[in-house]
């Protein structure tokens, strides 16, 4: 008999500043990495399509926020990451990876430069917040390090109509003339907010860091202007259609950037950094003797791939594993991402998926799965 009552009195899931707004909008709340957030409000497919065709509004306040300041801030970040943080001037952001001594991925993150050399805000995966903070602390080169996760709420506004909507609320910027990864400091009702041209959907969009006590006011204004509340279910299908990696699926502490298709996030010529030598060896190994490659695939038979399903060749031998999968709302087909042996990784290669004992046909396709 299943016992669904938690006997642990210590565990209490956290609520974001927007919890009441989600309840009011009839969000179906689930425990997501210890946070109570809506998986959907109406339907995942509907919300997904709204983002692709209009504009959606996400509460992603559960993400971790780590502030790193002072004269050693850049040096510390350069030591711990694969990308070149010195490229960032104030008002720019970049995608980056924390790398272990052995060249494996500790986390993926976005670094927002607020003042060159001196002030950076890191946005990390919710479930890795403490791990990342401890990791930076352990390897700190003397920077001022603060876990600001409790200070910031984070709203994402994404979709082709997002710039028009944003222009109505923040008239001071010509949003159409901004670039991906631009970062702006603006005022909202007397509170300083950070508006960045970043996102996890593939659509034009922004992510807005805002003080918790102002988050609801901003959410309601954006909603009134036409932004549709969008849940975490659609957030996952949107990123999947773009083949964006999700930590714990495509990348984890046992994957390195090159097999995951993230070689572009490694600036191999950067001055010595943690894992640099190991990465060089892994890069060479991936070139000469790759073990596996991350690919996107579609199902040829009617079915839905899911994380953990085995990939097989025609002889029924295991050749890989699915890392993420869903029914693509845009395509109406089962799509997935997974690691396969290199001989099965070319576009057009067919393989089989074992789904509940039945073999289902799949084909490697070009990604992103959709054209924007």
């Amino acid at each position: 008999m299943e016992n669904s009552d938690s006997k642990s009195s210590a565990y209490v899931p956290q609520k974001t500043a927007l919890y009441e707004a989600h309840k009011k909008a009839q969000g179906q709340i689930v425990d997501f990495s210890g946070w109570l957030l809506p998986i959907r409000y109406t339907s995942i497919t509907k919300e997904h399509k709204q983002v692709r065709n209009h504009v959606g509004l996400f509460d992603v306040s559960h993400m971790g926020d780590i502030r790193i300041k002072g004269s050693q801030a850049l040096e510390t970040l350069q030591w711990l990451t694969s990308n070149d943080v010195s490229e960032l001037t104030a008002g720019r952001a970049q995608y980056n990876l924390f790398i272990s001594k052995d060249g494996y991925i500790v986390d993926d993150l976005i670094i927002y430069c607020l003042e060159q050399n001196n002030d950076y805000l890191l946005c990390v995966n919710a479930s890795n917040t403490q791990k990342d903070f401890d990791w930076i602390s352990k390897n700190n080169k003397g920077a001022n390090l603060v876990n600001e996760s409790d200070k910031w709420s984070l709203l994402a506004l994404q979709g082709p109509k997002a710039s028009a909507l944003l222009s109505q609320v923040f008239k001071q910027k010509d949003w159409c003339n901004t670039n991906t990864f631009d970062v702006y400091l603006l005022d909202f009702q007397g509170s300083e907010i950070i508006v960045a041209r970043t996102g996890y959907t593939g659509e034009w969009g922004v992510e807005i860091f805002i003080a918790n006590h102002k988050a609801l006011a901003l959410w309601e204004i954006l909603e009134k202007k036409g932004a549709q509340p969008t849940g975490l279910g659609a957030r996952d299908t949107l990123r999947l259609e773009m083949k964006f990696s999700l930590y714990g699926h495509e990348i984890d502490e046992n994957t390195h950037p090159y097999e995951a298709g993230l070689g572009w996030v490694v600036k191999a010529n950067k001055k010595d950094f943690l894992g640099k030598k190991a990465l060089a060896r892994l890069a060479e190994a991936q070139k000469t003797n790759p073990q596996r490659k991350l690919v996107g695939f579609k199902l040829l038979d009617r079915a839905i791939p899911r994380q953990g399903y085995k990939c097989l060749d025609n002889a029924g031998q295991e050749i890989g594993l699915v890392t993420s999968g869903t029914m693509s709302p845009t395509l109406g087909e089962g799509v997935g991402i997974g690691y396969v042996k290199p001989e099965h990784s070319k576009i057009g290669s067919e393989f089989l998926l074992s789904i509940r004992g039945r073999q289902t046909r799949a084909i490697v396709v070009k990604t992103p799965f959709i054209n924007l």
Binding site: Q28, I39, S43, I44, T45, A303, M327, P329, G334
Partner: protein, 132 residues
């Protein structure tokens, strides 16, 4: 949607896996309840066994998938499948629109009536979902 408005017809048997079973002589029609489809969200895919195959009480006989996840379907009785709802291949959303009627999943020729004693009735199921 308030739980009071979830239809729980008296004539059905129910399970704590949120299946309903309508018993007519020795033929049992099986589906998932209104509460279940509401929890699941939009159904995008259903996998059902072939006619003629055997099912066992409390064992899985198929899968129902929403965008987000796959859930096992658990057989409320043991027997042989006489009919499968083929409309669901093209239109799995029937399960969301009319789970208690047109969204039926399978019909089973029951091995023995005795297994019905393991199922619950409408009032107990209503109490069960109220707690959720």
């Amino acid at each position: 949607m308030s739980k009071e408005s979830f239809a729980v017809p008296e004539e059905n048997y129910y399970t704590k896996d949120h299946e309903w079973a309508l018993v007519e002589e020795n033929i049992v029609t099986v589906g998932i309840t209104t509460f279940a489809q509401n929890q699941l969200g939009e159904v995008v895919y259903v996998e059902l066994p072939d006619e003629g195959s055997k099912v066992s009480q409390n064992e899985d006989f198929g899968v129902i998938e929403s965008v987000k996840a796959a859930s096992d379907l658990i057989a409320p009785v043991s027997g042989t499948i006489t009919e499968v709802n083929s409309s669901l291949t093209e239109d799995p959303s029937l399960i969301n629109d009319d789970p208690m009627n047109q969204g039926w999943l399978i019909r089973v020729e029951m091995d023995t009536e005795k297994e019905l004693a393991n199922l619950i009735r409408a009032s107990e199921y209503r109490k069960f979902i109220e707690k959720k």
